[in-house]
């Protein structure tokens, strides 16, 4: 198995790991976003709570939750490793860099965007994952939907969530198409479609997520 570790520790292998874990997290976001979007049915959270109940009790989902955390930690670990490696490669910095002339700022700032996302994620997990999985506060009288209503009454929390979603949007805007390139999937037939899907995905996911705390704060859903 030494050949496999050697390959995954090469500069190309680290990127492959980034791509695989990234695409896995992208697939998770579709489920997460789709389920949460049921709050817009404006049914008092009935559909949402049913979904949350299923996600919290189904053994397959609970197992996947462990895989999800493993994937997330791998993505973070690999990202940190790449960042530490890469910054050593140019010991003397340029005095003048015209980065916007040749690339997008967010493609050059994936480490920074990822760090902001991690900070957001800690707050986010504390709000909802900790509440629903590690405390006994989740009851029929105090559902996850009720908890969302309470949490999103704070304007500071809403601002943090919207900023988190903006970071997510830019991270995905580069990350989606970048993952395919790292996997070697660059083809004149497919790449334009991948780029379009990536852009639509990044905008739809981040905008849908961002609209949730805003909708609760302004009592657009009850």
């Amino acid at each position: 198995m030494a050949w496999l570790t050697k390959s995954f520790n090469s500069s190309l292998g680290k990127k492959l790991l980034m791509a695989i874990t990234g695409l896995f997290l992208i697939s998770f976001l579709i489920v997460h976003c789709g389920l949460n979007a049921t709050i817009f049915l404006n049914d008092g959270g009935v559909a949402f709570n049913e979904g949350a109940e299923f996600m919290g009790t189904n053994p397959v989902i609970r197992t996947m939750e462990i895989v999800l955390f493993a994937g997330l930690l791998l993505h973070i670990f690999d990202g940190l490793r790449l960042w530490l490696d890469n910054k050593k490669k140019r010991p003397v910095a340029y005095a003048v860099v015209d980065g916007s002339a040749n690339s997008k700022w967010y493609s050059r700032s994936m480490g920074l965007l990822g760090t902001l996302l991690l900070l957001f994620l800690i707050i986010h997990l504390k709000h909802f994952w900790y509440f629903s999985r590690l405390t006994d506060d989740l009851t029929e009288a105090h559902t996850l939907y009720n908890e969302m209503q309470i949490v999103f009454q704070s304007p500071i929390v809403v601002v943090i969530y919207v900023l988190g979603c903006v970071s997510l949007g830019y991270h995905l805007l580069h990350g989606f198409q970048s993952a395919f390139q790292s996997l070697g999937w660059n083809h004149p037939k497919y790449s334009p479609t991948i780029k379009t899907i990536g852009t639509v995905y990044a905008v739809v996911i981040s905008a849908t997520f961002a609209s949730m705390p805003i909708a609760f704060y302004f009592h657009l859903i009850h």
């Binding site: 890469n86 003048v96 002339a101 390139q181």
Partner: protein, 252 residues
């Protein structure tokens, strides 16, 4: 003369690899807009020599945009503000009168500065030596058309082979990555039937050498492709990824 430029140059001066460098500011006047950037530096160097100063050391050879020797990082971009050209093909009409131009060497730990704007790019040679070759029989060359090659593959191989190894990709990359260079050198052989014999080991050997030389990983920003004077596509990097991983899983 009308239309001539007066410029302020901030040029990186560094005695050798061991000593730290710093910027020196020079004024040049009466620069013709028809001069190339290197000819403008020649004018400055003539004056420095006349004044008994050390001229600015810089790499150059053909001055036709085909050898890949010139390597100046001008105003924050490798080979300056224009796309698809090397520094020798950059003309002074691309600059404005009174402008301050900052000139730096390629900066990468794998490209140590030898002097001033000259960097050591022998890391590229070692990457090629690690696997950028094919096995052929000696003796008479066989008939040119005896090996049928798909036209698309021939075109892509030729486009990859246009790489002149100047190192602008490394200079432009935020990670000082040599992926575009290495992938072009892998692609030009991987696309052709002659390159199949070493296909399983080539990508592995060249990537290993690339990592050992201290080049960074790829962030897929596309800066290398945008700054490459020969327009080498990052499709080559994707091909290198495919070659490398298929070799990882299939080689013995």
């Amino acid at each position: 003369m009308e239309g001539n430029l007066n410029l302020t140059l901030k040029i990186w001066r560094q005695k050798n690899t061991q000593t730290a460098g710093k910027f020196e500011t020079y004024q040049v006047s009466g620069i013709s807009t028809d001069m190339s950037f290197l000819e403008m530096i020649d004018v400055l160097n003539n004056r420095l020599i006349e004044e008994g100063d050390d001229p600015v050391a810089f790499d150059h050879d053909c001055r036709e945009g085909i050898c890949g020797m010139c390597s100046m990082y001008i105003n924050g971009r490798p080979h300056g503000p224009n796309r698809g050209v090397t520094t020798c093909q950059l003309h002074m009409r691309s600059f404005k009168d009174g402008e301050t131009i900052t000139v730096e060497p390629w900066r990468a730990s794998a490209f140590p500065v030898i002097k001033d704007l000259v960097v050591n790019r022998s890391a590229f040679d070692r990457i090629i030596a690690a696997g950028g070759f094919i096995s052929v029989n000696t003796g008479n060359a066989q008939d040119a058309n005896s090996l049928p090659i798909n036209k698309d593959n021939a075109d892509d191989a030729f486009a990859a082979a246009a790489c002149i190894g100047c190192g602008a990709c490394v200079a432009a990359c935020k990670n000082a990555s040599a992926m575009l260079f290495t992938s072009a050198k892998i692609s030009q052989l991987a696309l052709l039937p002659q390159g199949q014999i070493e296909a399983a080991t080539r990508a592995q050997a060249m990537v290993a050498q690339m990592d050992e030389e201290g080049f960074g990983a790829c962030s897929n920003t596309g800066a290398c492709e945008a700054e490459c004077p020969k327009g080498i596509s990052i499709e080559n990097i994707a091909r290198m990824n495919r070659e490398y991983f298929s070799a990882t899983f299939s080689s013995k």
